[in-house]
C-alpha cells in the first residue's frame, strides 16, 4: 500500500503538498468557472457585455452611441445611490432609506434655494449636511441601539418619506423656476459630448464617486476596516477596530453620497420632484446584488455595483426599445435578478 514515498521535508505545508496531487484534467466549463473564480469582478462585466450584445441584436436603435450614452445618463442617479448602498451592504447592512433620503434632500435643496432665497451653494451644502445627518441617525440607531439595519432603515424610510411630503407639500418646483433662480442645482444635468457620445456631468459624478470609493476602500486604512467590520465585527473589534465608529462613518458617508445623488437627480429630472425615484431603493439594492456584493457583508468589489447598475439600465432600455410590454418588462426584470445572482453563485461555488 505504501506506493508513494512520503515527503521528508517537515517544513512543507501539508495543504500545499496535498494540493500538488490535484492534476486531474478539467472540462472547459470548469476552466471558465476557474477563471471567473479568480476574477470575480469579471462576472458582472461579462453579463453586461452579453446583454449589450443580445439587445443590440434584438432591439432596433439599441446599438447607437446616442442610446448607449442615454443609458449612462439614465443610470447615473441610481448608480450613485448604489455606491452609497454598497458601502452599507459591505458592512453586512442594508439601507432601505437611500431613495427617500435622496428625494428629501433634493426637496430641501430646492426649497431653500427657491422659497427661502438662500444662496444655492449654501443650500447645496445644507442639503449634503442633511444627507449626512440622516446617515448619522441610521448609524446611531444601528450602533447605539444595536437595531438591525434592515429594521432601522425600514423605519427611517417611512420617516424620511413623510418628511419629504411635508417639506415639499407634494409640489414640484418647475424646471423654468430653477433655470431662472438656481441653475446650479441643475448642474449635473448639463450635457457635454465626448467622442460622439453625449454625457451629463451626473454620469461623471457617478464615476467619480465610485473611483473615490474604490480608492478609499482599497488604498486606505478606513477601507480595510470597513471590510473587516463587515466580514466579522467581533473579530474586528478584538483586533483593535472601533467598529461602531467605522459603522457610523459608513452610514454618514452613505448619507452624503445620497445628498450628492439628490443634487444629481435635480439635474436629471430637470425639476425638483418629490414623487420621483420611488423605486430607487430597490433598484440600488438590485444593482448592488447583481454587482456581486454579498448581502452578508465583507465580500465583493465596489466596482461591481457600478456594473450592476449598468446591467439594470441596459436591460430596462433594451426591453423598452424591443417594444416589450411593461408587464413583461417586470417579468423579465424578476428573472434577470435571479439569473444574474445564480450565475454569480455558480462561480463562487467552488470556493466553499
Amino acid at each position: 500500500m505504501m506506493s508513494d514515498t512520503p515527503d521528508p521535508v517537515v517544513e512543507r505545508n501539508p495543504a500545499e503538498a496535498v494540493a500538488s496531487f490535484d492534476r486531474h484534467t478539467r472540462r472547459p466549463l470548469e476552466r471558465v468557472q476557474h477563471f471567473l473564480h479568480r476574477y470575480p469582478t469579471m462576472v458582472p462585466v461579462i453579463v453586461l457585455v452579453l446583454s449589450v450584445i443580445a439587445f443590440g441584436l434584438i432591439a432596433p436603435n439599441f446599438f447607437s452611441a446616442f442610446n448607449l450614452s442615454l443609458i449612462l445618463q439614465q443610470v447615473a442617479v441610481v448608480g450613485t445611490l448604489a455606491a452609497a448602498q454598497s458601502l452599507v451592504v459591505l458592512t453586512a447592512g442594508i439601507d432601505l432609506s437611500v431613495g427617500a433620503v435622496m428625494v428629501m434632500v433634493s426637496v430641501i435643496m430646492g426649497k431653500l434655494s427657491i422659497d427661502f432665497g438662500i444662496p444655492v451653494p449654501i443650500a447645496i451644502l445644507i442639503g449634503l449636511g442633511v444627507g449626512a445627518a440622516t446617515g448619522a441617525l441610521n448609524g446611531a440607531l444601528v450602533t447605539r441601539l444595536k437595531l438591525p439595519p434592515f429594521i432601522t432603515t425600514l423605519g427611517t424610510w417611512n420617516i424620511f418619506l413623510a418628511l419629504n411630503y411635508y417639506l415639499s407639500n407634494r409640489e414640484t418646483i418647475r424646471s423654468q423656476t430653477l433655470d431662472a433662480e438656481a441653475p446650479l442645482l441643475k448642474f449635473f444635468g448639463e450635457r457635454f459630448s465626448l467622442g460622439g457620445a453625449v454625457l451629463t456631468y451626473g454620469v461623471v459624478l457617478m464615476v467619480i464617486v465610485f473611483a473615490v470609493l474604490w480608492y478609499a476602500l482599497y488604498q486606505t486604512a478606513w477601507g480595510r476596516r470597513v471590510y473587516a467590520v463587515g466580514d466579522d465585527p467581533e473579530s474586528a473589534a478584538l483586533a483593535g477596530i472601533q467598529t461602531n465608529r467605522v459603522l457610523m462613518s459608513v452610514y454618514v458617508v452613505a448619507g452624503v453620497i445620497c445628498g450628492l445623488a439628490a443634487w444629481s437627480s435635480i439635474g436629471r429630472v430637470g425639476s425638483v420632484s418629490p414623487t420621483s425615484f420611488f423605486e430607487a431603493n430597490l433598484e440600488s439594492i438590485t444593482a448592488v446584488v447583481i454587482g456581486g456584493i454579498s448581502l452578508f457583508g465583507g465580500r465583493g468589489s465596489i466596482l461591481g455595483p457600478l456594473i450592476g447598475a449598468l446591467i439594470v439600465g441596459v436591460f430596462n432600455s433594451g426591453l423598452r426599445l424591443a417594444g416589450v410590454d411593461v408587464l413583461w418588462q417586470l417579468f423579465a426584470t424578476g428573472w434577470l435578478i435571479i439569473v444574474a445572482v445564480a450565475i454569480d453563485q455558480w462561480i463562487r461555488k467552488i470556493s466553499s
Partner: protein, 317 residues
Amino acid sequence: QEPVKACIITKTDINPFFVKMKEGATAKAQELGIELMSYAGKIDGDHETQQQAMESCIAAGVKGILITPSDTKAIVQSVQQARDAGILVIALDTPLDPIDAADATFATDNREAGRLIGAWAAGRMGDEAANARIAMLDLSPSAPSVDVLRNQGFLEGFGIDVKDVNTIGDEDDARIVGHEATSGNEEGGRQAMEALMQKDPGINLVYTINEPAAAGAYEALKSFGMEENVTIVSIDGGCPGVENVKAGVIGATAQQYPLKMASMGIEAIAAFAKDGTRPQSSEGLDFTNTGVNLVTDQPVEGVDSISVEDGLSQCWG
C-alpha cells in the same frame, strides 16, 4: 418605407383606466398601420420611469408620443427634448403644467369631473346639504395632481370653500369629516372608510377618488349596516363602476373616455406624420376636451347627466 412609430406612456400599468387607454391606442394604431410602443410608470407618481420612457421613445425615433404625466411639472423638460427632436407630444388625460408645454392635450377636465359629482351630490341632498357629513377618500399621501384636482373639484361643486385650490385638506368646513388615502384600490377604500366611519358614524356622503375605492367604501358601509343611508360618488366610468351605479352601490360617477383620448391621440399623430398638421384645441379651451359625463339614474336638476344605460354603452374596461 418604414412604418410610423409612436409611443404611449401611461402613469401606471396597474390602473384599468390606463390599461384601457393603452388598448384603445393599440387598436387605433393597428388600424392606421402605426407601430406603437407602450410604457408605464410603476406606481402613480413614478416620474423617473416616465422620463426614461420619453428618452427611449426619442432614441427609437418615433413621430409622436402620448403621455399621461405623473408629475405634470417635472416631465416638461423631457417633453421639450422630444419636441426639439421634432416629435409631436400629446398629453392625455392630465394636462402638463404649463399646459402649452405639450403640442396638444386631450383630456378630461378632472376638476370638472369632480365639480359634476359635487354638484350632483349637493342637488341630491337638497337642503340636507347643510348637514352633510362628508368623507373624502383620496389617492395617496404623495397627492399627485389628479388627486388634488378631483378632490378640490368635488368640494367646489358641492359648494365648499376650498381655500388653496392646490392643497388637499386645508379646508375648514365642518361638514368634512376627514381625508384618508386609499391607494385607489378596494382594500384601501375599505380601510379608509372604516376609519372615517368611526370618527363620525353619521357620515352620509362619500367622495371617492375612483370606483375601486368606492367599491371598498361600500363594503365597509355594508359591514356597518349603513349602506342605505350613505351616498357614494366617484369618478372614472369604468364598466365595473357603472355597473355599481346601476346596482346602487355608487350614486353617481363622472365618466371619462380613455379610449377616445387614446384613439384621438393616435389619429393626431397619424395626421402629423402624414403632412405635419397639428391638432387644435377645443373652442375656448387650451386643451381638447374629450368630455366627461355624469352617469346616474337619479338625475338632479341643473346638473347634466346621462343614464346608466348610456354610461354602460360607453364604458371602458
